[in-house]
């Protein structure tokens, strides 16, 4: 029980008035002569009692009338919901609208978001003037209280689907924090959501419950705008195992289909964009769902020419949730990476050359195209002014002290984007390598050769140079390939980074950026045969039994040096796409073609080595083109929504109520329910009509009794 205007309860003190009147100013009876008084006296006693009773009854009725009037005017409310608040205080309301892509689900000719927007708008417009209203969504844009309710309503009306939604609990907690900043207000939070397990999982509920616990004044109303029996067919995932293909290598695409509330076989189609820019259908499969409602379909497309290729996998039929009926992908068909292997003799390059482009395979078809040269040859070429930039990467295998011109050529090429790998071996000389030019490439002055027998033991393989090994990190038997001798540095340069270490903690692979290029130094060579003449081999990495780790590591490192596999071609909405510009390009502008709009011309700052695209909220294929007809740059990337946005399983009502503090949370199914809870929660169930009826009845009784009592009075 509460009161909207409790101060009026003080009016009950006026009860004193009738009591006073009763006691002090008692109404005088009419005085009449009556000789037959004796007959009156005979019945006096019983009548006297009755009269007194009536007096007191009248007094009681009058007191009740005043008390009842005070009670009614104080506007009593019944707190049926148990929600308690600061009655009469101004309102601070945060409206959280779940605007994730999942809310695109159509039901009743309306998407969930449209329904939520409408309900939220209606609700906001019914708030009393002067209420503080904040509209919070899942876009992550910082929000505060709107200037007025009209602004808040317009903000709610203009909410759009968010392809990269932040977690719902984050939005709710932000709203709770916002409300908590208004301690003088009644703090009410309205969440309009479809209540799926994906958005309100156990962790999210726990986080919300904790936040509610720490802000005791905030009350949460959840308006359910979801659909109980949703129907949806979704392509939850499109997997392109190889995003960079060699020429002639077929494109393989795997699509996962998930059916909710459907059992029909779905037709899945593959489209690839042609050179003319049209989406050409390149395959069709039937997806028959297994018992768990999922199906996997595979496509294969051959004969893709060099360049960037984009396409999408789509369901041929439509369903209530449209966004996940289509997923896009981008692949690139690239020429092999050109690698220059430099050794004292071409023998030194054998192991690495075989690892990158095995001679038993057609060299043209491999990912790497290796060219082996000696240092002497390169020095001559450098003298003749032949640029190194025709290569993507250069590997120096066990280099001896080199001429400054060669070092200079390497430094210049690295500045332009050439990847340089230095495999230090027995020919290295600390004094010669301590010169300034070699030190521009090396991570530090060489200290000594360590003859401590050890082996490679990378702690983790998260570095891009080694991340390709991560999936089978546990299976690599590094100790089978001992490293008997390796170089140690006096001190690493400030910008050097240790990618991997030996078991004895000495740095094994050290990276150092130089200009636009990458530079990796390995402190042990990969050119030592099993039994070199006149000395012990420095390691058995390439010569141990079945040296597949060496092959894998080499390909990773050289690929990294050549800056391949760097760019993410398939992104989530909101992620920043990076497109590296080819070395030596002088682009000043490019054309950006988003999936949902007209091409935009953008300028590039001078000297930029990559294009960053941050506005990736729209789903689909993006294209970045520059250089006009020469086609200097024609790249692209795809943006797909997270697969959990297709999950429509609803959270159990009991789970929801059990996870949140029961006395401060209400769940409503219909807008009217929200309204009812709000009214009851805000003001309680008003008892005024009942109270005033009671007062009226008491009044009537009092009037009747007193009229009868004092009839014909003076």
């Amino acid at each position: 029980m509460g009161f909207l205007t409790p101060v009026l309860l003080g009016g009950a003190a006026l009860i004193a008035v009738p009591i006073l009147l009763h006691l002090v100013m008692r109404r005088q009876p009419r005085r009449l002569d009556f000789p037959a008084l004796r007959f009156v006296q005979q019945r006096r006693r019983s009548n006297q009692r009755r009269m007194q009773l009536r007096h007191w009854l009248l007094l009681a009725l009058r007191c009740a009338l005043i008390a009842g009037l005070a009670f009614a005017l104080a506007r009593p409310t019944l707190k049926g919901t148990g929600l308690r608040g600061k009655e009469g205080a101004p309102l601070a309301v945060a409206v959280v609208v779940d605007n994730s892509l999942r809310m695109q689900l159509v039901s009743g000719n309306q998407t969930r978001l449209e329904q939520a927007r409408e309900a939220a708008g209606r609700f906001i417009s019914q708030l009393p003037e002067g209420s503080k209203v904040a509209v919070v969504d899942r876009s992550g844009a910082s929000s505060g209280f709107a200037v007025d309710t009209a602004t808040a309503r317009s903000r709610a009306d203009n909410l759009l689907l968010e392809s990269a939604p932040r977690p719902l609990d984050e939005a709710v907690i932000e709203a709770i924090d916002l409300l908590a900043q208004q301690p003088d207000h009644r703090q009410e939070l309205f969440l309009f959501s479809d209540l799926t397990t994906a958005s309100l999982g156990p962790d999210a509920l726990t986080a919300i419950a904790e936040s509610l616990e720490s802000h005791k004044e905030v009350r949460l109303y959840i308006a359910d705008v979801g659909v109980d029996q949703p129907i949806n067919a979704a392509i939850t995932r499109v997997e392109v195992p190889k995003k960079r293909l060699r020429q002639g290598e077929p494109l393989r695409v795997e699509a996962s289909v998930e059916l909710t509330g459907l059992a029909e076989t779905q037709v899945v189609e593959l489209f690839v964009r042609s050179e003319a820019g049209d989406e050409v259908k390149r395959g069709q499969r039937f997806a028959e769902a297994a018992a768990d409602g999922t199906a996997l379909v595979k496509f294969e497309v051959a004969d893709l020419p060099l360049g960037t290729h984009q396409g999408h996998v789509a369901l041929s039929s439509s369903d209530p949730l449209a966004f996940d009926n289509r997923r896009s992908f981008t692949v690139e068909v690239t020429p092999p990476t050109r690698v220059l292997l430099l050794g004292q003799s071409t023998d030194d390059t054998l192991f690495l050359s075989e690892a990158l482009s095995p001679s038993f395979l057609n060299n043209e078809a491999g990912a790497f195209r290796c060219t082996s040269k000696t240092f002497a040859q390169l020095t001559d070429e450098a003298l003749q002014g032949q640029p190194l930039t025709e290569f993507d990467a250069v590997c120096l295998l066990d280099p001896p002290p080199l001429e400054d011109r060669l070092w200079q050529a390497l430094v210049d090429a690295a500045d332009e984007g050439l990847g340089v790998g230095i495999f230090l071996g027995h020919r290295a000389r600390p004094s010669a390598f301590a010169e300034s030019l070699p030190q521009q490439l090396l991570p530090g002055p060489l200290a000594r050769r360590s003859r401590d027998s050890t082996h490679l033991r990378p702690r983790n393989l998260d570095h891009p140079a080694t991340v390709g090994l991560k999936n089978y990190a546990e299976d690599i038997p590094w100790q089978v390939y001992p490293v008997l001798t390796h170089w140690q540095f006096e001190e690493l340069a400030g910008d050097a980074f240790v990618v991997a270490r030996y078991a004895n903690r000495s740095p094994a692979i050290v990276e150092r950026p130089v200009g636009r290029g990458r530079l990796i130094t390995i402190t042990t060579p990969v050119s030592d045969p099993l039994e070199p003449e006149g000395r012990e081999p420095w390691n058995l990495l390439p010569t141990g039994p079945e040296p597949w780790p060496f092959v894998a590591l080499s390909r990773q490192l050289v690929g990294y040096l050549a800056q391949r596999g760097e760019e993410q071609l398939n992104l989530r909405p909101g992620e920043t796409a990076t497109i590296r510009l080819p070395g030596g390009s002088e682009l000043s502008s490019f054309v950006f073609q988003p999936p949902d709009g007209l091409p935009l011309r953008r300028t590039l700052p001078p000297g930029a080595d990559s294009i960053q695209v941050g506005s990736t909220r729209a789903l689909g294929n993006y294209r970045v083109v520059a250089g006009g007809r020469s086609g200097e740059l024609d790249r692209g990337f795809s943006v797909n929504a997270a697969p959990e946005l297709s999950r429509l399983e609803r959270i159990d009502g009991k789970t929801l109520t059990a996870a949140l503090p029961a006395d401060r949370v209400r769940v409503a199914r219909e807008f009217n329910d929200v309204q009812k809870y709000v009214d009851v929660g805000r003001t309680g169930r008003e008892l005024f009509p009942w109270a005033i009826s009671l007062v009226a009845m008491v009044w009537c009784a009092e009037g009747l009794l007193s009229n009868r009592f004092y009839r014909g009075g003076e």
Partner: protein
């Protein structure tokens, strides 16, 4: 006479002369209503026979004697009545009470008494007047002269009913005072202890007197027309009582009915004529009803 006029005016009964007429009118109205003689019950008694002479009323011829003797004899009636009437007036303060009626109980009683007085004088019956409060106050000896009416009325007109009353004692006094059988007509509201009054009435009756008890109550005393909260005061005892009239009415009416019933029952047992009256009743109607009933009894 002036004082009599004062309280017996206007129209019908409010002037003494008119009262006379009024009484006459009441009786005549009564006679007109009854074509047989109404006076059998009073002082008409056989005295002796005498020879018929011309001019005698033929209806007085005694036909039994004629049958035996073949001569006309008429029945001779006693010229002097042996019934003496006494109008006994209660002068208690309560008799002066009237609530919204034109006449007080006392005035009403005077009117009644005047009518009866006229009636008896008309029959040559002597009528006397006795008034009492706590004891007998005034006594006017009975006479059958016409001016007796004027005497009685002038005395009554000058009396004020403002005394304390002891009806039983007064009646006892009266019983002791009367030597011959008389017709005692008591006018009182009987607001005293009924047992004592009844006992006194019985004694009076046992003294050989014919008693007519006119129980005169004000209309308000019979109907209790009050409502709301009232403070009632007894003018005689000066006691007062605050009551809720509405709540009391039923009880009161029951009590007054009991009271009247008691008198009626006791009077019937003692062969006393009990005439319950209230001041809202018409005189002629009241008297006619009574006399008709008495005739029927006779």
């Amino acid at each position: 006479m002036a004082t009599v006029e004062k309280y017996l005016k206007p129209e019908v009964i409010r002037q003494i002369s008119r009262l006379d007429l009024r009484a006459q009118f009441i009786v005549k109205g009564f006679l007109q209503g009854l074509h047989a003689s109404p006076f059998h019950g009073f002082s008409v008694e056989f005295s002796e026979h005498r020879k018929y002479s011309t001019g005698d009323d033929p209806k007085d011829i005694d036909w039994l004697v004629y049958a035996k003797t073949d001569k006309y004899y008429v029945k001779k009636f006693e010229a002097e009545t042996n019934i003496t009437g006494y109008l006994v007036m209660d002068l208690s303060g309560s008799m002066g009470y009237s609530h919204e009626q034109e006449l007080t109980k006392f005035e009403y009683s005077i009117c009644l008494a005047a009518a009866l007085c006229y009636l008896m004088i008309h029959q040559n019956d002597p009528v006397g007047l006795v008034t009492f409060g706590e004891k007998i106050l005034d006594v006017l000896p009975p006479k059958s002269k016409r001016q007796q009416i004027g005497n009685i009325l002038s005395i009554l007109a000058n009396l004020r009913p403002n005394k304390q009353t002891d009806i039983a004692h007064s009646l006892d006094q009266l019983a002791a005072m009367l030597r011959h059988s008389s017709l005692v007509m008591v006018f009182s509201d009987l607001l005293a202890e009924p047992d004592e009054v009844i006992a006194a009435l019985r004694r009076l009756r046992h003294g050989g007197h014919d008693v007519i008890l006119f129980h005169v109550l004000d209309h308000a005393e019979v109907e209790f027309p009050f409502d709301g909260l009232v403070e009632l005061r007894d003018p005689e005892s000066d006691q007062s009582l605050e009551v809720d009239a509405d709540g009391y009415r039923t009880d009161y009416l029951e009590a007054i009915a009991d009271f009247r019933r008691t008198y009626e029952k006791e009077c019937r047992q003692s062969r006393i004529d009990y005439v319950p009256l209230d001041t809202s009743m018409q005189f002629d109607r009241a008297l006619t009803e009574y006399l008709a009933n008495r005739h029927n009894w006779g």
